[in-house]
Symmetry: C2
Subunit: 423 residues, 2 copies
């Protein structure tokens, strides 16, 4: 009898009716003879409401108490889901993060899983019950306090349980049919991908695709867990995010290009007229690092005339731009640059595909398509299986469509519109 | 340094503003050099909302999951209160029932405390922190599941912690100034009692006074805990509910009469024409007991003429009346009675005072007052320190006022109007 771990996001358990619908899905699968462990997020806006409440109390809520507070959201949904399943005549038991053995470090708000000991979950399964586990939360052994896993926490909970219980697969239920070749809100002809390697999924997630959290994909890859991304509102089989073993076993024939992702959350800072001497770039990036900002792309201009200065541009999350700008301005004298330029109207577009390794001419096709469409490329970065370009935010939609078409990704029908997913 | 345990009901922590107000009270007391353990109920209607949600999912929610669900209410309020205190610059840590060592039996929804091991609470106190503990909830060691204590659970949590930590006193904060000589909604001249023995408080609570839950008073009496009932909305010192030791120590001079309680929740059943033979009463009451109904008062009429039959009247909670009536009707043949009479328009009024033991003529005064007011007495029952009478519901207010006046309990000013309290 195979074990399946499922995760249902907040939009899938938004109200009593949705919870009953999800319970029905679970019971149907149980009837087919599967063992089931189900991870749930908090209902709809519950978490946002709790966060708002916390901020009414204090502008900077105590991290320990904040975790104690917001973990109630998953407890509510898991208890209701277990009730719903029981009312359908099947045994179900809900477990908090600590009861399910999700052991984490003590970093409140962004804890890392250090051990998974799902003893009680295993017991429940052995007794034929369906185990419901609160997503997003864990427990630290030293402080004996409740922790939360941060963004994408519930996905990570599901993957961690799937790994610890050696599940056949981990199904991530959301409100879209799966992973798409592009964001259908931007590219109506984007189509659902049936299969994608976790390596490609990592690049897509890291490039702005929101359907899966990069952290959960990384965890699945490390632990060799097969992921399935699908909708709890349809019967579409969804997208299989496979690992190397699975690919061998099933002789997966992957397409050259997986998809196109866009990211409008970045901004660009250009430090103009930096002395072109060893260590000046390092000085800037040390400063940025001290602000805790994640730099994505870097371009150091080739010197045009030999005036001993150069320009350094880099992209970073808009959220941390202000702080970084202030820091660089404050350090103007040590850094000795001429001026600062800032642009938060940029878009990063990434083409991802494992086929890039073997197929030549991918970049040529990409840049020809952009040139023909008169789209200006501002920055470029690449990985083994990804090419990313930065252009102006206004060009985002047009550029994504052009690339999508150039690589033959356009589907025949228009896709269902993509909506955000629960944490 | 003295340790004080406080309990704040749902109305005292109904919203962010109330929580900050309560936090301020706590911090002020801490500043005075007291150690503090604070038990909280769920915010305002949170618990009712969760219960409603559960019933949307299932008419009879699974008890284990139901406890898992509704215990989130106290977790929310305790985390917010701890945040509020921390934001005022004082250390505070919140603990769930299990973290605070509230060990109970496994009876979900109405668990009994079997052990209290507040190790972490003690640690927090030793480190100078204010400990916030979720009321109403516990933990069963065998099932390792979360339980709830049932009605009055949060008061009981506070008393149990006060006993286990050997606190100087246990302050129960509610939305009234304390225990009154009568319900001010019914007797405007009722006045707050400064001191009352736990023995008298038990009788009042058992006779319909709602300010304190009888279970918490019993626990306090067993564990010799001094209770203080006061309002979180005023600075009134409240009512001290003292134990024998305290009375000795402080030479408490108790008044003869503590107060008058009324109870409109009872109904009366009269079994007419029961064969006046040994065991017929027993047969009826066995039947009632089998229905799980609590009988309060019993009157067996004296035979008027020697026709070998008698009438047996008893009172019981309205809630269980229907079921009991059906049971007695079904057993008509065995019981061999003539007819059944039912009256749910009755009121029980109880006069409570430890002075009854020594002062004679209390009952004379009572019945004279009722006679002079033309109030008909239907049933009578007494304990060592209580006289209860049953009259028609329509007479409730009048009778209570008359008794209140007859025993010199009327205050000079009118009392603040009494409102219900949180669990």
């Amino acid at each position: 009898m195979s074990l399946i771990v499922q995760k249902y996001g907040g939009s899938s358990v938004a109200d009593a009716e949705s919870i009953r619908r999800v319970a029905k899905r679970i019971v149907d699968l149980k009837r087919q003879g599967h063992d089931l462990v189900v991870t749930v997020s908090a209902m709809g806006d519950t978490t946002d409401d709790l966060i708002e409440l916390a901020h009414e109390i204090s502008p900077i809520p105590d991290p320990r108490e904040f975790d104690m507070l917001i973990t109630t959201g998953e407890r509510i949904s898991m208890a209701l889901l277990a009730m719903a399943i029981k009312s359908m005549g099947y045994d179900a038991r809900s477990y908090t993060g600590s009861q399910a053995g999700m052991i984490t470090d003590a970093r409140h708000g962004d804890a890392r899983i250090v051990d998974v000991t799902p003893v009680r979950v295993r017991e429940a399964l052995d007794e034929g019950a369906i185990a419901i586990v609160a997503g997003f939360q864990g427990f630290n052994r030293d402080t004996r306090d409740i922790t939360t896993l941060g963004r994408g926490g519930s996905d990570t909970t599901a993957v961690a349980l799937a790994a610890a219980l050696d599940a056949e697969r981990c199904e991530i239920y959301t409100d879209v049919d799966g992973v798409f070749t592009a964001d259908p809100r931007m590219v109506p002809k984007a189509h659902k991908i049936d299969m994608i390697s976790s390596e490609e999924m990592l690049e897509l997630a890291g490039s702005g695709a929101k359907v899966l959290h990069i952290r959960a994909v990384e965890y699945a890859r490390r632990q060799n867990v097969t992921l399935v991304v699908r909708s709890s509102f349809s019967n579409d089989p969804g997208t299989i995010v496979y690992q190397p073993d699975y690919a061998k076993e099933h002789q997966v024939e992957a397409p050259t290009i997986a998809g196109v992702a866009h990211d409008l959350s970045q901004a660009k800072i250009t430090v103009v007229g930096v002395p072109d001497v060893p260590g000046s770039a390092a000085a800037i990036f040390n400063l940025v690092a001290q602000q805790g900002a994640n730099i994505d792309m870097i371009v150091q201009n080739v010197q045009t005339q030999n005036d001993g200065v150069t320009d350094i541009s880099f992209t970073l999350p808009k959220a941390s731009a202000d702080q970084v700008l202030r820091a660089i301005e404050a350090a103007r004298d040590e850094l000795g640059y001429e001026s600062l330029r800032f642009d938060d109207q940029i878009c990063k577009i990434s083409l991802v595909g494992a086929g890039m390794r073997t197929n030549i001419g991918i970049s040529a096709t990409l840049f020809e398509a952009l040139r023909d469409a008169g789209i200006n490329v501002d920055m470029i970065s690449t990985s083994e299986i990804r090419i990313s370009i930065v252009t102006s935010a206004g060009m985002a939609s047009r550029a994504t469509k052009v690339i999508h078409t150039a690589f033959g990704l356009d589907g025949d029908s228009e896709a269902v519109v993509y909506a955000g997913t629960g944490r």
